[in-house]
């Protein structure tokens, strides 16, 4: 018994000790737990504090229902808000003011772009002879039933976050694999898919009214045709109308629609280039002809003025000389009236003297009655010596 008691006491003692250490450990644990709870509580309180950052808008949902704070459903920037932790409250943040660009290359051939350029070495590039299979590698039809490849881009901003978020389906954030899937197959259901499709619809409807020349700006008559800029404008207007149309009403604002790239089908590219060349040739031919016109007409005008000036000069000369002659004649005539014989002789001899004194080479031949004479003159390059008359019979 005593041994039993003793052993019992020992057990008790040992049990006590074990219990005490357990109690001690538990106490420490409880203290830690309490600290943890306080921490969690504090964390919960403070984690509920949030504010709306620049370039975003936010909405608060309590148990899934949109909850207005201070009368506004879309929370404003520059204020502090507090929300219960999940799952009671949930804050949806939306990139609102950020510009988003969606590029639609569904009207672009699927073939690697590097292989699109036809080479000059006589090698038929991939796709040169290939037909366009519907569904792979898209294209657009112009108003005159030409096939065109294009890449379009639309830039927009979320204008009405409430509408954008609550009216449109948004695809959940995807895993990496799904994102790759999305990359290859394109967005399909969500808001971005809708916007891309709206862009496609607008592009299709607009391009369907344009002749191919205007789309490619091949027309040589500049200014008279609608330009490429207004193709983009036309699409932009259509996109704007669609975005706000009843049945769509996305709550976004379209900033810009751009035609990024346009290209005729590969097989026709040489023919199209040829047209561009021909248009250049046309302009060159016109320019040459115009240059000719610009050279020849002024020249003719110059010549015409010369002709006119000559004529005027002639007129002046003739009139003036006749006037002078007239004056001279009148003077002489007055004298002549007074003394006809002497006057004439004086005039005649004056003139002959004048003339003869000027003439360096003179031959005086003696006349015998009315006989004939033979005169031999040396009219050579050498200057004949004055005063050496050749004189024979």
């Amino acid at each position: 018994m005593s041994t039993d008691q003793h052993s019992h006491a020992t057990e008790l003692h040992e049990g006590d000790q074990g219990m005490q250490s357990l109690v001690r450990t538990l106490r420490v644990l409880f203290v830690l737990l309490r600290v943890l709870i306080v921490f969690i509580f504090v964390y919960l309180v403070f984690s509920g504090v949030f504010y709306v950052r620049e370039h975003e808008e936010a909405m608060l949902f309590r148990f899934g229902a949109l909850r207005a704070k201070g009368g506004e459903e879309v929370l404003s920037r520059g204020k502090l808000y507090w929300a219960f932790p999940y799952p009671i409250d949930q804050v949806e943040r939306l990139p609102a003011q950020r510009s988003v660009t969606i590029t639609s290359s569904q009207y672009w051939p699927l073939i690697n772009a590097n292989r699109l350029e036809s080479t000059d070495q006589g090698v038929v590039p991939v796709g040169e002879s290939a037909v366009l299979r519907p569904g792979e590698g898209g294209y657009l039809l112009t108003g005159d039933a030409n096939i065109m490849h294009m890449i379009w881009a639309v830039r927009y901003r979320v204008d009405n976050a409430r509408k954008y978020y609550l009216r449109l389906f948004h695809e959940p954030d995807d895993s990496y694999a799904e994102q790759r899937e999305k990359h290859t197959h394109g967005r399909t259901r969500g808001a971005e898919a809708i916007i891309e499709n709206i862009l496609s619809e607008a592009v299709l409807a607009e391009v369907a009214t344009w002749p191919v020349e205007d789309v490619l700006v091949l027309s040589r008559a500049e200014g008279t045709n609608r330009e490429r800029k207004s193709l983009a404008n036309g699409v932009e207007n259509r996109v704007r109308n669609l975005v706000d149309a009843e049945g769509i009403d996305l709550g976004i604002r379209v900033d810009e629609v751009n035609l990024v790239e346009v290209q005729p089908p590969l097989a026709t590219q040489n023919a199209f280039r040829e047209v561009v060349d021909a248009a250049h040739d046309y302009r060159a031919a016109i320019a040459t002809a115009e240059a000719y016109e610009r050279r020849v007409v002024p020249e003719a005008e110059g010549k015409a003025s010369t002709i006119r000036a000559d004529a005027s000069a002639y007129r002046t000369r003739v009139v003036e000389s006749v006037k002078a002659e007239k004056a001279y004649f009148e003077t002489v005539y007055a004298e002549y009236e007074k003394n006809p014989d002497t006057m004439l002789v004086a005039l005649y001899t004056d003139a002959v003297r004048d003339v003869l004194s000027r003439v360096e080479t003179k031959y005086v031949i003696h006349t015998r009655g009315e006989g004939r004479q033979e005169v031999r003159l040396r009219l050579g390059p050498e200057r004949p010596k004055p005063g050496a008359p050749t004189h024979s019979q």
């Binding site: 259901r189 007129r315 005169v375």
Partner: protein, 335 residues
């Protein structure tokens, strides 16, 4: 022992509270459900939608967004579906040819925007249940209505250089109207928009289109070149004409001016009529002066004064000539 007494119990109230909180959350989660702003929810008791009676007609009860009560799991289940617009485009690789009213074969892709019909989600639930089902139905319906509508229109209403003749939007609306009615009454799908996103030709035709495009382009290049020649020639001809006109005008004017000069000169000539012989004589003298220069070689005989002095008997004054004989000037080569 130590922690069973009252004091220790009081000491551990946070732990107890936490435990109770957790239990409470579990309980609440079991008997409540949340309806998001972006979804429709229908509660089903043993698979049968909870119904309400609106104007005598029984409809599935619609729950507002927020927290609602329900019986725990095996009794009540909640069916939800997104109530927002989503996009569905007909599956790729399933493009098919459609014949237009003017017998063109075309290939068309459309997309629709749709959402569950908020007034009658039970129809959607009954017939379709999931998005995938809905898309399958939409695929079928859209094709059907689209092909009917396109068969009534010409290709020229889809593509045309004359923008007023293109009725793509109208055709889309036409398809949409019939599609809307069908989808809503039969499947509880509300289609809000339909648009074309691709319009093309079948493979075989596209080859022909490309050949035609080539031919058109070649024709165009030839046209440009020929027009270039023609227009350039026109410009040249115009220029030449202008040159000739300008010159002819100038010549005419010159002639007129000269005539004018001659005319006014002639007026002055009148004075010579007083004595024509004298006038002729004076002019001759002038001519003599003008025509004889230093380089002239002059051959004259002794009949010409003053060289008649060289003749015998020159001292007899009466024999001297006064009227000059014709002088014969000769252009001399003397330099």
């Amino acid at each position: 022992m130590g922690f069973t007494d009252k004091r220790t119990w009081m000491q551990h109230w946070p732990v107890v509270l936490l435990g109770m909180l957790v239990a409470f959350i579990f309980l609440v989660a079991l008997v409540t459900f949340e309806v998001k702003e972006t979804e429709h929810a229908v509660v089903m008791t043993f698979g049968e939608p909870k119904a309400v009676s609106v104007d005598g007609a029984t409809k599935a009860k619609l729950y507002e967004p927020g927290l609602h009560w329900k019986w725990p799991y095996p009794i009540d289940t909640v069916w939800r579906h997104d109530n927002r617009l989503q996009c569905y485009e007909l599956k790729k690789g399933q493009v098919e040819q459609i014949q237009t009213a003017d017998d063109y074969q075309i290939v068309v892709t459309t997309y629709v925007l749709w959402r569950i019909d908020g007034d009658a989600p039970e129809l959607f639930l009954k017939r379709l249940n999931t998005t995938a089902d809905a898309e399958e139905v939409l695929d079928k319906l859209t094709r059907h209505h689209r092909n009917i509508a396109l068969g009534r229109h010409n290709l020229t209403e889809l593509i045309n250089v004359d923008a007023d003749k293109v009725h793509i939007d109208g055709i889309a609306d036409e398809i949409l109207t019939s599609l809307q009615a069908d989808a809503k009454s039969n499947y509880g799908i509300e289609v809000t928009h339909l648009g074309f996103k691709h319009l093309g030709f079948p493979e075989k035709v596209s080859g022909k289109v490309i050949a035609r495009m080539k031919a058109e382009r070649n024709r165009k290049s030839a046209e440009y070149r020929a027009e270039g020649k023609r227009d350039a020639e026109k410009i040249r001809a115009k220029a030449d004409l202008e040159v000739r006109e300008v010159l002819a005008k100038a010549e005419g004017e010159a002639k007129r001016i000269r005539a004018e000069g001659d005319k006014s000169a002639a007026e002055h000539y009148a004075v010579f009529r007083k004595n024509p012989e004298l006038a002729a004589f004076l002019r001759k003298l002038d001519a003599l002066r003008l025509t004889l220069s230093a380089k002239t070689t002059l051959v004259i005989d002794t009949n010409t004064p003053p060289y008649d002095l060289l003749r015998p008997g020159a001292t007899k004054l009466g024999k001297l000539t006064l009227t000059p004989p014709a002088a014969r000037p000769k252009a001399g080569g003397a330099k």
